[in-house]
Symmetry: D2
Subunit: 129 residues, 4 copies
Amino acid sequence: MGDAVAGHFGELIGVEIVDLGPDEAKARIAVADRHKQPYGVVHGGVFASLAETLSSAATYAAVRDEGLVALGQSNNATFLRPIREGHVHAVARPRQRGRSTWVWDVELSDDEGEACALVRMTIAVRPRR
Amino acid sequence: MGDAVAGHFGELIGVEIVDLGPDEAKARIAVADRHKQPYGVVHGGVFASLAETLSSAATYAAVRDEGLVALGQSNNATFLRPIREGHVHAVARPRQRGRSTWVWDVELSDDEGEACALVRMTIAVRPRR
Amino acid sequence: MGDAVAGHFGELIGVEIVDLGPDEAKARIAVADRHKQPYGVVHGGVFASLAETLSSAATYAAVRDEGLVALGQSNNATFLRPIREGHVHAVARPRQRGRSTWVWDVELSDDEGEACALVRMTIAVRPRR
Amino acid sequence: MGDAVAGHFGELIGVEIVDLGPDEAKARIAVADRHKQPYGVVHGGVFASLAETLSSAATYAAVRDEGLVALGQSNNATFLRPIREGHVHAVARPRQRGRSTWVWDVELSDDEGEACALVRMTIAVRPRR
């Protein structure tokens, strides 16, 4: 199901959606050279992009039956530890599910389960036009 | 010069570095379908990734002769307006150039010059190991 | 006009509103011991609180005639340089004035005009209940 | 112990430090009129200030024996739900304890235990000068 949900950019960076539950959503990326910045570690933009793809898809999955769409409003990423190989694993948990705003905490970790980046994602929920 | 400076991920998303001056740095991406999320607009991760690629490269250009490297510490993106076509233009201006931390304000705009996203990027400067 | 606009907490921390124009708003605090953290410099919370008081008041001044209220949604502060004495000067400029969201960039500076903190403030605009 | 640790500004806003453990730190504020903005709810700056006071004090408690000090670098607050009365309770958990940077997630909640604000706090750790 990943490709249609993740969209073209999600495909480009290799997002694999694992689960889109309303209380916890999961996705991952298998790290390859194309994800790296010049020092050989995963680019910070990959963490931010994976977190946004996952939390946007999970929000949309929860609100689309009400005729609503989900639009990223802010993406605040903090980088803790580099990843050189393996996977980037993302787990997103909703902290607010409001009528007009959803807030997600997304934790990105490596194959050893160490937290490598934290993303707080705010998503606007609006009527489909 | 863009490819070597932007790294593999910069290449993947098509970052074209325009200028890496220490007081103002510029880059852009020519928008294509691969940059879009499911609603047909540029994915928020593209804005965050472009801003981080540009400000990291500009920081590194300024500190590499001192034996230092530049590592993203946080990337705070706020989305203002969608882009569907044309280019994403990025202009980065340093707000702090400290011994251990650089802070950049990056404005992302469309071909009409309208601001579409704002990124505040914090970069750690550390001795090369 | 400062007190009524700034509210009780604005009074407590000594916010003096200088100007609430829709394109640029200004306020300041005269630094005293009560604003300091244990190392003798102005507490980061003072910068965040001043920025939020100012941008909330300026948003409300612009939307109240339409029956709307302004509610802080996020406050992202980056600290650049300490202040020990004199004033904290705040200048806020709107980057988005949407139907449901306003975004302000607030620069906090010292009496020498040096930038000491940057705050990106997002304010939700909602109908008065 | 609260007053000396919280500093003058911590005293001004009534921060009561409950616990400063390295794995979890707690503090609270008893809500009074002086904490409120014009709509009668606790000012967002109170949440940001409480989170910064707590996480700075907890970092300093952990590093002072090594001759280090703790300085706020960024304070990213997201507001979820207003508080009108009772207490603001803060629980801070460290997400990174590096040589030069500590990152804390601080959750602010009301007397019913509902999350009202989330703060991601980055603190620079530096040698005492």
